[in-house]
Amino acid sequence: MEAVVQTRGLTKDYGSVLALDALDLEIGAGTTGLVGANGAGKSTLLKILLGLVPATRGGARVLGHEIATEGPAIRAAVGYLPEHDCLPPDVSASDFVVHMAMMSGLPRVAARERAAEVLRHVGLAEERYRPMGGYSTGMKQKAKLAQALAHDPRLVLLDEPTNGLDPAARDEMLGLVQRIGRDFGIAVIVTSHLLGELERVSDHVVVLDGGRLLRASSTDEFLDATGVLLVEVLGDDAQARMAQALNRSGVATVARGTMLTVDATARASDQVDVHDLIRDTASDLGLGLVRLQVDHRHIEDVFATDGAGASSPEVSHD
């Protein structure tokens, strides 16, 4: 399958700021998280992909269209949810989404049907007939998402869709983002500076730092294969006794807060499963084993490891 987005040496130089620095990137179907600190070049990349801002050097193809020459074709097939406010307060969500669907070329009747459908999907019920000026932030974000989906795009660019939302609304929005990529069959590029939320919804993660590509891989690769188990036990001096006992059995442990981390790969050749060993050790010591889980990495770790390497170019990764 053809890549949804493909950039070649994409560079945007604002003079004072180098927003994108020779970016080579390939983004496929599904949901892709675009991660980076504020000013990492995420919003600039989205605007360039829409064909709104010209690139200084290099180029990109979006859905098979060249950004430099086929901007209108790209914008007809892409939905965009900007980071900032973009809703007129004196218009209802219903009227607004109909209008925006028509601005993407849908005939009036079709635009009405689409608007009703996408508003149902994003979960705006009766309030869709009220002026949007009175909406909560969560409702506004839903209306913004609805207009991005109104014309049934093949790709949506969501710039910080969870910005300013409370935890419940954030969960709902992330659930919607996940459904768009998975159930609606629309490719999604979603940006965030909160890394944790992208782990949950995206299939792939692209990390930008200072306009450069820090890392691009599937979310699973980011999160898995740490090979570390987290163990938590309850009892008198439980943690120290557990650590001692495990060390005697030849398993290395490191204390992390109230928990122990156990390197599960160390005994991979042994016949005894590490999980069994931990269970039996805790049982022998008479301690309550309250936690035994795989330690998932967080995307934040990428910044701690890859980020350190990227800052000194001479260091080679092994």
């Binding site: 709104l52 209108p72 900032h84 973009c86 007129p88 004196d90 601005m103 689409r114 459908e117 014309h151």
Partner: protein
Amino acid sequence: MTDPTSATPEGGSVIHDLGYRPYTGPRLGPAAIARALVVTGFRNAFGLGRSGKSKVLPFVLLGINLMPALVIGGVMVFVGLKRLPIGYAQYASTTQVLLGIFVASQAPVLFSRDLRHGTISLYLARPLPSSTYALARWSSLLGATLVFLLLPILLLYAVALLGELDVTDQTRDAAIAVGLALLLALALTGVAGLVASWSTRRGFAVVATIAVLLIGNGIVTAIQGISQEEGHPRAGEVAGLFSPYSLYRGLMSTWTDTHGPTPPTGTAMQAAYLVVLVALSVACVAALVWRYRRVATA
């Protein structure tokens, strides 16, 4: 990890609640999109498709604007005058304050509102180029201004025909007034649209437009009055080049029997009035297009 599809028997038929249905219908081209934008903008200029209170001002102004024509209509019907008490072209000049307020207050609806609320970025993320967007907005305002200018002419014309005045004369006068109204609407739309496109604040745009149109006209009228009194009408004629309203009055004096103060004399000056009025309109439209091209790439 379990396979989420494993619950479905192999080859068995299931009812999928996919929920989301893709759109497979037609997608219209830029011309149809632009037309839809013009129509929506035209409706919005009168507050239609917006909140209830945004309808009040445009319709009150429109009502007041039509009042004199209605009164004249009543008088014509009951008294039976031999000629209209006010010329078709003169009407817009008489109600210029209302016209100025209407254009000044409704231009921000079409131009400032999208900039203020960031909606412009949604338009720019869609197929229409920024220049077409600017022209569509301008067309909406032009349409609304023309409704404001042409309705009284139409009403007076109907009254004149009902009053059994000479059809040929009336049609000729009304046609000239329509042409003049079009020129005035082009200029006012350009000026008000341009001011509103530079302001994200509605209030500022309204005040600035009124200042440019009405106060500008006031100054020009004062100069024209003084130059007339002092016996230097040429100074007044030159001053008349600096306001859309005085340009309109100048052309009205040239083409109809109604005369304003210091009408342009000589073919060169009369041509200059026409050229300046058209050039002003064209320059404003060009500046609008340029302005939105800048917004798009910012």
